[in-house]
Symmetry: C2
Subunit: 301 residues, 2 copies
């Protein structure tokens, strides 16, 4: 079991209808690694600036997350993001973004991680994703995320990354933008034509869709009234999914379907509070109990 997770570490300020959280730990790699750590041991590869607060560093620590790949870069500043959600929390506006260290060369993968079996490339510049992938020759399975910015401005680099990975996990708007298809089944199939053997399209409060060469699976989100802050839900989904795949040691369609359920349930905890508060408090047993409820909800007839 060895899942390598890379992506952003940030200092977030988040405003939702339920309140606000100022300068809290955030970033795709943070949510993703903590979500994955509920299922497997995680190797985190990411960069922060020398301004990274001790309080954030303390929250990053976890028994199941190896921080040997966390670089604190002298003379650089940590990525910062501030966002505000709409009343129904289905939309959000970026109030401020400071790329800082994310605009510099990416993290190096420690020698000891070269044989990691699974690699998840959370959203960052596609060329950086590809470089990182090349540093893990031992991988059995690689999966990437991306975002609108790269789809629009770095399409050639992104195409190379997509051709190199086994799977993609993106949201519905990104899937439509990437493929030019409005219908999500068609969009999923179009993503497969770019290289990956599976595509997962995240739909926020509406769940997720898994598309493979010969199957389509749609699952709803876990129904809940406890939605405090949706930030990190998508990354928690990816982390839960990848963590489960690493732990179960399989990646056939049946395993991918089970992994989508784990991702869905893991994300349902993240959104119950700001930042990592709920995700860090949840236990593997609590996750499994909610997985059982979710699976039972979907078992009809």
């Amino acid at each position: 079991m060895s899942l390598l997770v890379t992506g952003s570490i940030g200092i977030d300020t988040v405003i939702t209808p339920h309140g606000r959280a100022d300068e809290v730990l955030g970033g795709s790699a943070v949510y993703c690694s903590h979500a994955a750590a509920l299922f497997t041991a995680v190797r985190l590869v990411a960069v922060v600036g020398e301004d990274f607060p001790a309080s954030c560093r303390a929250q990053l620590e976890s028994e199941r997350i190896d921080l040997a790949g966390l670089e604190t870069r002298a003379g650089s500043k940590t990525f910062r993001w501030a966002g505000k959600y709409s009343p129904d929390m289905n939309d959000r506006e970026t109030v401020d973004v400071q790329l800082n260290v994310l605009a510099e060369p990416g993290a190096r993968v420690p020698e000891a991680y070269a044989q990691s079996g699974l690699v998840f490339l959370a959203n960052t510049h596609p060329a950086t994703q590809l470089e990182l992938l090349a540093q893990v020759p031992g991988k059995r399975l690689s999966v990437c995320d991306t975002m609108d910015l790269w789809i629009e401005t770095e399409r050639d680099a992104l195409d190379k990354t997509l051709a190199a990975v086994d799977g993609v996990i993106i949201n519905d708007a990104e899937a439509r933008q990437l493929t030019g298809r409005d219908n999500l089944v068609a969009a999923g199939e179009a993503v497969l034509a770019m290289g990956p053997r599976f595509a997962v399209i995240k739909k926020g409060e509406h769940g997720a869709m898994l598309v493979t060469a010969d199957s389509v699976t749609t699952v709803p989100a876990f129904p809940t009234k406890q939605v405090c802050d949706p930030t990190g839900a998508g990354d928690s989904f990816a982390g839960g999914m990848l963590g489960y795949l690493d732990a179960c040691g399989q990646s056939d369609v049946a395993a991918l379907r089970r992994a989508v359920v784990r991702g869905t349930v893991t994300a349902s905890f993240t959104i119950e509070d700001f930042s990592l508060t709920r995700l860090r408090g949840v236990t593997a047993d609590e996750v499994e109990a909610r997985v059982r409820r979710f699976v039972a909800m979907l078992r009809i007839e």
Copy 2:
């Protein structure tokens, strides 16, 4: 087995990214009754004007739909609606609406229908819904739909109707407007506080949610690339759901969950072509085959 369906019969003009259909048969009671007829015998109660075309009347006919409650009102005109869908077909704009006979007193329930076991009140003025309900003293189960117009302008009458029915089937925007709650689980619970013992919230391409006093079930829509015209999907969902409930003779949570699946699958046929074209062509066996696929898709772990 005796399901009474009431609602609108209309002449629709529909424009979608896939083409257009001019002056075709439409209306909530039409989709609902044809959907329900895949599962049970249906008694249709509705009014058309003397202008109702013979071609539309021919399409309305079905072995399993009793038209004794269809009134052709002399001196009146049939309801007309024209709408245009957005490129992704998640939004539509009403281009033209002529209430015509729908603005007049509602249809009378034939004496022979007074002992109908199930009643579905598709969207119309809530006072008309309540009047119709009173004409079916033999009902075991009654369910209603409504729309933004009545929520906004006829709240007192709507509250009386909601207090009188066993279940409600509405879409997500209506649920939010009716209850003032953005979260759909909370909205569903707020609907129950108004009287009904179950609420079904339809989410279009994102599926549906069933809320009862002690359960929440969310199912996705049937994933498909074949979406030609979403008109009537919600009414087909309601018809499939009610038709199944009538056929199975139960309405406990397990039966409601099975019914939601039948509604979902029935609607997935309606949207494959304009007007009633696909729904009239589909067989009960085709529906059951797709139900089995859908149930298998949701059976995970």
